[in-house]
């Protein structure tokens, strides 16, 4: 408990110092926050490996009390939050140097992290809902911290979406409460088997909508690509890395932990949601040239991958395949941790780039790897990890997802047999899309020639920012080559769901007993290194030392290669825009003005964009429907006092008639 007390006091002290009028040292409070997250990290490890227990109870009245409860699942999410909060806090020391309102940012930052801890540690309904709402509100204020029109609009959409989601979460808790008569989540779990099936289905659907909105599944993702770019980058890293994971936590807590048993169609539904989210999310990410929007869409994709794992876990368990189900849930949790690390890293990297170039638009970047070598290297590591390329961390969790989906073939039902490999095919497509997306993201912004004056004379970020990113980049590699270690942290949570453990045989080694498939990322890395050394020696023997001369790139002999002749981000994805035009619905506008038609042009103006079909065909009709309904209701509110008195009279008469007896 000392670790957690230290943690809480660190965050509180940091918050208090932030509001004191000490402009010069304000940004160093983030160091205290990072110590606080270390404390919580240690606490998380102790929770994971100890029996579930009530940590703290605060009695307010007989009906309401705050209960904090810790088990392996909440411990795991606690760990994921702490890991990212640690690195982001270090990064923030340098990042917040030129921030306009550092005091407000500091207070909100510390309480935001505490509220996320509270969400995953909540032991009863009231505590959960209050923490959840606090987290949502604090993140709303953080999104609107930069007071401009973009942030304000983004904040509004975020607030509306997140509250619509919360409404469903409240509804599902009401159903649980009325059915079990208890507020306490552990008690609800005991009585959960008595809930009738139809109500269980209702709870499942509400949890998809409620927690799915926070997690950002398609089609409930629309707030993500708006809110993440609006927030400061250290906040985007936390929001995208861990806050949306609280949605995952809630979903797992309700459907996998409290309800335990689920019919097969739940699992298949979740797999379909995951597959759709990962493909559509990545397709939209590919079309973005705003780096933060690209990363936001990418979060939608990764949430999809996590849902694929969760869905597989539910489906396999309903088919009685407990070991395979464990692998699937382990894959989902592994990916949750991985995504927190590499997405946090990428957002921090983007923050550094924006800090240096003052733009989010990658069409204006280029050649940054030379001026920002560390940021570039770390961004590259993040990109390689998110594309699930060995030997980095994304690969291990996706490999586990593949393995679990493939073992879905041992299910009894045909539906599962077909759903599982198709989910795996969706994952394969996503992997290839992600690779293209991050070749674009890294290649266009960090390689080639500077595309605008923004990218010239760029300076590398400060030491604390580089350290923050470096910690995460190192973790990408460690989590990638030591899957055995990571699985030890995950298995207690998985065990409580399936009753089947996945015991890794070694730190850098994975073995799936059922299919006799092995993976050893550590061995892959070692082999790559050995082969690299051999190759260098071989080349020296075969070719000897040869001269290297430097010159211009091949320009077909024009001798005037300009940055404008490089491939652009838009050009890079043009083939995909044409191939997937049914999804993108691209529009182009070509305005040519002539001096004399048809040969003498004065100007050509080209603009192209894609149609976000979900927004056009789902959200716009929905909002206009709601507005229309609201307008009709507003007839009642005429503003006339006499009419309102009339309403009261009418109500009174009606009550006397119907409520008399």
């Amino acid at each position: 408990m000392t670790a957690v007390n230290t943690g809480i006091s660190c965050f509180l002290i940091a918050a208090i110092i932030s509001i004191l009028p000490l402009q010069k040292i304000k940004r160093y409070t983030y160091i205290i926050s990072s110590i606080g997250s270390l404390g919580f990290g240690l606490f998380a490890l102790s929770i994971i490996f100890s029996a579930p227990s009530k940590l703290y109870t605060l009695n307010i009245s007989s009906a309401f009390d705050f209960v904090f409860y810790g088990d392996a699942l909440s411990g795991f999410f606690l760990l994921a939050i702490s890991v990212l909060a640690f690195a982001v806090s270090i990064y923030s020391v340098g990042y917040t140097k030129d921030m306009k309102n550092p005091g407000a940012a500091g207070v909100l930052y510390n309480f935001f992290i505490l509220s996320m801890y509270a969400v995953v540690l909540s032991g009863n309904i009231i505590t959960f809902l209050i923490s959840w709402e606090t987290m949502s509100l604090l993140s709303y204020f953080l999104v609107t911290l930069q007071r401009d029109e973009e942030s304000a609009r983004a904040g509004l959409i975020y607030a509306v979406m997140t509250h619509a989601g919360t409404a469903f979460i409240i509804a599902l808790f009401l159903v649980l409460y009325t059915q079990t008569g208890s507020m306490d989540l552990a008690e609800i779990k005991l009585y959960a088997s008595h809930i009738p099936d139809t109500l269980k289905n209702l709870i499942f659907i509400f949890s998809i909508i409620g927690f799915g909105t926070k997690a950002g599944i398609i089609p409930l993702h629309t707030w993500l690509p708006r809110a993440h770019p609006a927030a400061p980058s250290n906040i985007s890293a936390l929001m995208s890395g861990v806050m949306i994971k609280t949605g995952i936590y809630g979903f797992i807590r309700i459907n996998l932990d409290i309800l335990q048993q689920s019919p097969e169609w739940w699992g298949i539904t979740v797999i379909v949601i995951g597959a759709v989210s990962c493909i559509i999310g990545m397709l939209y990410a590919l079309m973005e040239y705003d780096m933060k929007r690209l990363l936001a869409y990418c979060s939608v994709e990764n949430i999809g991958v996590i849902f694929l794992g969760i869905g597989a876990a539910m489906m396999l368990k309903s088919n009685g395949l407990y070991t395979a189900s464990s692998i699937a849930l382990a894959a989902a949790l592994y990916h949750t941790l991985n995504h927190a690390v590499f997405k946090g890293l990428l957002f921090l990297g983007t923050g550094s780039v924006m800090h240096a170039t003052h733009t989010k638009n990658m069409e204006k970047m280029g050649g940054l790897l030379k001026s920002m070598p560390y940021t570039g290297l770390f961004f590259l590591i993040g990109s390689v990890s998110i594309c699930a390329l060995p030997p980095f961390n994304g690969f291990v969790s996706e490999w586990l997802t593949y393995q679990s989906l493939l073992s879905g073939f041992n299910s009894v039902s045909i539906a599962s047999k077909i759903a599982a490999p198709l989910g795996a095919a969706a994952l394969a497509l996503t992997g290839a899309l992600a690779a293209a997306c991050f070749v674009k993201a890294f290649g266009i912004s960090f390689l080639g020639m500077p595309r605008s004056s923004h990218a010239e004379d760029v300076k590398e970020s400060s030491a604390s920012m580089i350290t923050g990113m470096g910690v995460l980049a190192l973790l990408c590699l460690v989590l990638g080559i030591f899957p055995g270690l990571t699985l030890r942290v995950i298995s207690p949570a998985v065990f409580s769901y399936t009753g089947a453990g996945i015991m890794p045989t070694g730190a850098g080694f994975l073995h799936i007993g059922g299919s006799l498939s092995d993976l050893s990322p550590a061995a892959i890395l070692i082999s790559i290194i050995i082969m690299f050394i051999t190759t260098v020696i071989f080349i020296f023997i075969a070719g000897g030392k040869r001269k290297i001369s430097y010159g211009d790139s091949w320009d077909c002999g024009i001798k005037a290669l300009t940055p404008r002749m490089q491939y652009t981000a838009t050009g890079f994805t043009k083939p995909l825009r044409m191939i997937f035009r049914k999804i993108y619905l691209p529009k182009r506008d070509l305005n040519i003005s002539y001096i004399v038609k048809p040969f003498f042009l004065s100007s050509i103006k080209y603009s192209g964009e894609i149609t976000p079909f979900l927004e056009v065909y789902i959200y716009r009709p929905l909002t206009s429907l709601i507005r229309g309904a609201a307008r009709r209701v507003s007839i009642l509110q005429s503003g006339s006092l006499h009419l309102y008195l009339g309403y009261i009279l009418a109500t009174l008469i009606l009550l006397l008639i119907f409520g008399g007896n």
């Binding site: 493939l406 899309l433 290297i548 491939y567």
Partner: protein, 305 residues
């Protein structure tokens, strides 16, 4: 011996490429280069000086090494002449696909590094083709993996059950289309072209010279032979042995070479008899391949064969 079977891929891959070139030339009525021309090309490139663009960063120098070494690591996992494959603990067939993706990722970055339109064009097209190929490749592998109950390639190769089932034939067809696309052969890409508007692979490596180019080309040959080897391991494993006796190894090596030459012959026929497709016609071919792979999976699920 079983530890060193991947060396066969490293050493023989230029030969297989030479065989395809020779056969193609013969079919087109030319004498063509000698069988060992690819070796001479590599040696010549290794001995040349390099010219590198000023625009490039360290990615440009790292990419050939990453591509070359990652392809060798992929080769270590694949059983070539015996299914006693000690390196198979490193990974399975899914890992191989992702190791290939690692090489491709860096090759595409290198294409963008010099800041020319050709490199960007090559990268963009390569990644687009990969997006269309990957799901089909994976699905066709899944059919085989599900019927063998494992994604371990040595396991896949040592299952000597009925190979000529409907599902395997469909999966094989999809796999062949995937190989053609992955190795940049007609009708997807033309390995002989240097016409800017049509090239994919050649576009990305346009800025390379000397030993970097040699590494890139050699890696390309190895990847080609590896994919052929995967095809025979998964779909025609007959002849591969499950022990390490020298006599049996020699026998297995002979059979393996025969299989490789047959595939090379098949590729040469396809290359000589088809025209390169327009880039935007590729989706119809590759989506067709995806449908084949999906049908193979459905067939296996429905009929169990």
């Amino acid at each position: 011996m079983e530890y060193l079977q991947f060396i066969l891929i490293i050493i023989l891959s230029p030969l297989i490429n030479g065989v395809i070139r020779k056969l193609k030339a013969q079919m087109q009525g030319r004498p063509g280069p000698g069988l060992f021309q690819s070796y001479f090309d590599l040696i010549r490139l290794f001995k040349k000086d390099m010219r590198i663009s000023n625009t490039t960063s360290w990615i440009f120098g790292a990419a050939p090494y990453i591509l070359f070494t990652s392809t060798i690591v992929a080769a270590m996992i694949v059983p070539v002449i015996t299914t006693v494959s000690p390196f198979s603990v490193m990974g399975d067939i899914i890992a191989i696909i992702y190791i290939f993706a690692l090489g491709r990722f860096f090759m595409a970055l290198a294409g963008l590094d010099a800041g020319t339109a050709f490199g960007g064009e090559g990268s963009s097209r390569e990644m687009t083709v990969a997006i269309l190929v990957e799901p089909m490749l994976m699905l066709s592998i899944f059919t085989a993996a599900i019927s063998a109950g494992s994604t371990n390639i040595a396991m896949l190769a040592s299952i000597s059950g009925p190979i000529y089932t409907p599902s395997h034939i469909l999966a094989l067809s999809a796999f062949i289309i995937a190989i053609i696309a992955e190795t940049g052969r007609i009708p997807v890409d033309n390995p002989d072209t240097h016409l800017e508007l049509t090239m994919i692979h050649e576009g990305m490596v346009l800025e390379y010279s000397g030993k970097y180019l040699a590494l890139m080309e050699w890696a390309h040959y190895m990847k080609q032979m590896l994919l052929f080897t995967l095809a025979v391991d998964i779909f025609f494993p007959a002849g591969i042995i499950n022990n390490t006796e020298p006599a049996a190894l020699a026998m297995s090596f002979g059979i393996y070479l025969l299989k490789m030459f047959s595939i090379a012959f098949f590729m040469a026929i396809i290359e000589s008899s088809r025209a390169k497709m327009r880039f935007f016609q590729l989706p119809s071919l590759l989506e067709g391949g995806f449908v084949l792979a999906f049908l193979s999976l459905l067939t296996y699920i429905m009929t169990g064969r």
